[in-house]
């Protein structure tokens, strides 16, 4: 108990030292296991509003597992158990009275591979979250569609073919379409799981710029294998290793003066 208090105290001090932005999302002793395999153990960290938080670490270190625990995405998979707490604005999203659907409306997610709904047009893809919930007002939907596509820096490229299938766009456009679709429901937090790893350098650059722009409005958490990318776009970086959070600091400090030897080994390319 005392340890916990002390730990929280240090966290608070770190916060005042590095960050002035309010905490949007906080995990306390978050663990995830797949059957008998532990994917993540005892991660406590705070994610700030209007900041980009990068999660780095070697393959299988638990960073994607952590990300997916933040919007209860694990619930689709068999045999996954999550323990600990995830607080969104101080309220546990794993609480008994909380509807996971409502959680995911506030915490959006973009995946590694673009996932447009194959049978829907570009327009229907963007507004799917609203339209399929029963929003029928066409004018409202097309306003939202345009706004989301502009936010995702895609509007000018697709404005003349909003009715063609989402799958007809290029890979990079499809990924921005996926981002627009996530933004259309106006979430508060945006989780991104290696959103540029399947894209060419120019598309990746566009998405990085997009993320930097979006961080004025959203708390963004991004998993990346690319340290340069973390350096370019993130304010804070968390290093995961063997299912544990090893180090969490401002990105510039972390990448120039890591305090843990494992972090140093990773960012200098000794493993991973």
């Amino acid at each position: 108990m005392v340890d916990e208090l002390v730990a929280e105290d240090t966290l608070l001090q770190n916060l005042t030292k590095h960050e002035t932005a309010p905490v949007k999302l906080e995990t306390r002793d978050l663990s995830v296991s797949y059957g008998n395999n532990v994917g993540l153990s005892g991660v406590s960290m705070q994610i700030h509003d209007q900041r980009v938080t990068a999660l780095i670490g070697p393959s299988g270190c638990g960073k994607s597992t952590f990300l997916r625990a933040l919007n209860r995405m694990h619930e689709l998979n068999r045999g996954v158990t999550v323990s600990g707490r995830v607080l969104l604005d101080g309220k546990d999203i794993y609480g008994r009275d909380v509807n996971p659907v409502l959680v995911r409306r506030r915490i959006g997610m973009v995946f590694q591979k673009p996932t447009p709904f194959p049978t829907m047009s570009v327009f229907d893809n963007v507004v799917a979250g609203l339209k399929l919930q029963g929003v029928k007002n066409k004018k409202f939907l097309s306003e939202i569609c345009e706004k989301a596509l502009r936010q995702a820096a895609l509007f000018d490229e697709v404005k003349d073919r909003l009715n063609s299938p989402g799958g007809s766009l290029s890979g990079g456009q499809q990924q921005r379409l996926s981002i627009a679709r996530a933004l259309a429901i106006e979430p508060e937090v945006l989780l991104m799981d290696e959103p540029t790893s399947s894209l060419d350098p120019i598309s990746s650059m566009k998405i990085e710029e997009l993320i930097k722009g979006l961080s004025d409005e959203y708390a963004i958490v991004i998993v990346t294998h690319n340290l340069q990318q973390a350096a370019r776009i993130s304010d804070r970086t968390a290093f995961f290793y063997m299912g544990r959070l090893i180090e969490y600091d401002s990105t510039s400090d972390m990448l120039t003066r890591p305090s843990d030897i494992r972090t140093e080994n990773y960012i200098t390319g000794r493993f991973g």
Binding site: M73, V101, G108, V110, T115, T119, A182, I185
Partner: protein
């Protein structure tokens, strides 16, 4: 060095011998494989040819509209019409599809979308067992469930019997059509705050549409050829009903069961007619299979 050259020569000879043997083995296997393939195709080709040769002679205007099923007419050497039989087949089979499709899809959704569900393993075993049950027992079940309480043979009971034939096939094909849709689509749907059922209905099922339709067509084609479940359910009828409801509430003629009745009859004319019925049934079922193939190919092109 002489010894070395001899050795090389020796090896060459061995290799040449082995080469000839390889060629002989290869040609022998080729013949075996070709013959086996022909044995697989032969029954189909012979069956289709035989039915066409014997059936075409039976088909004329009288075949469809002649006075129905009158033994006096048959003994006078005149044929009787099967128009009402074709309509009856279509009505009974379609109603069976309407009954079985939603149940099959529902089971397919449980099998594919909720792999962790407690009922899933049980459902899978039961479904496969039901599929393996003799079709005539499904007719008996429909007899007990529908014919006894109604007090009469009926098209409806035939549809129920055929629906029981279709359900396991529809469920399995719905399962495979749905699980062919990438898992990422489901996660993408959940990630934009849609409930699970909404994701299944609006994102997964439309993506699996061609596969679902193909599965129903195959189930439909399979059931369309079943005679056994209809013997004591839709029973057969010699007359076109006065009212369309007659196709559902009273005994109805269907092609497979009429084909059987004609084949075991003592009249030569009826045998000819049976060949005609076989031809019509074959064209109907083959048409469904071809349609299913076209839809499947379309799906492959889209993917």
């Amino acid at each position: 060095m002489k010894g070395h050259d001899e050795m090389i020569n020796e090896m060459r000879k061995i290799e040449e011998k082995a080469f000839i043997w390889r060629q002989i083995r290869s040609s022998a296997m080729f013949v075996v494989v070709t013959l086996s393939t022909m044995l697989v195709i032969a029954p189909l080709v012979i069956m289709i040819g035989y039915v066409i040769v014997n059936g075409l002679g039976a088909i004329d205007a009288d075949f469809f509209t002649g006075e129905l099923g009158s033994p006096a007419r048959a003994m006078a050497g005149k044929e009787t019409g099967l128009g009402h039989t074709m309509i009856g087949t279509f009505v009974v089979d379609t109603l069976a599809l309407i009954i079985s499709a939603p149940i099959g899809v529902a089971a397919g959704i449980l099998l594919s979308e909720y792999p962790a569900h407690r009922l899933n393993p049980l459902l899978r075993v039961m479904n496969d067992t039901l599929n393996g049950m003799p079709a005539i027992m499904k007719g008996l079940l429909a007899f007990a469930l529908i014919v006894r309480p109604m007090g009469t043979f009926s098209g409806l009971s035939g549809s129920v019997a055929l629906a029981i034939v279709m359900i396991p096939i529809a469920a399995r094909s719905a399962e495979s059509a749905l699980s062919n849709v990438p898992w990422a689509i489901r996660e993408a749907g959940l990630a934009i705050g849609l409930p699970r059922w909404r994701v299944i209905m609006s994102a997964v099922m439309p993506a699996a549409k061609n596969g679902l339709v193909t599965g129903f067509l195959l189930a439909f084609a399979r059931a369309a050829g079943e005679a056994a479940p209809l013997m004591f359910t839709s029973f057969g009828s010699n007359y076109l009903p006065d009212h369309w409801m007659g196709f559902i509430l009273s005994p109805v003629d269907t092609l497979p069961q009429r084909l059987y009745a004609l084949a075991v009859s003592p009249y030569k004319e009826w045998h000819t007619m049976g060949w005609g019925a076989a031809l019509v049934l074959m064209v109907f079922v083959a048409g469904l299979f071809i349609l299913a193939r076209i839809l499947t190919n379309k799906k492959l092109q889209n993917a």
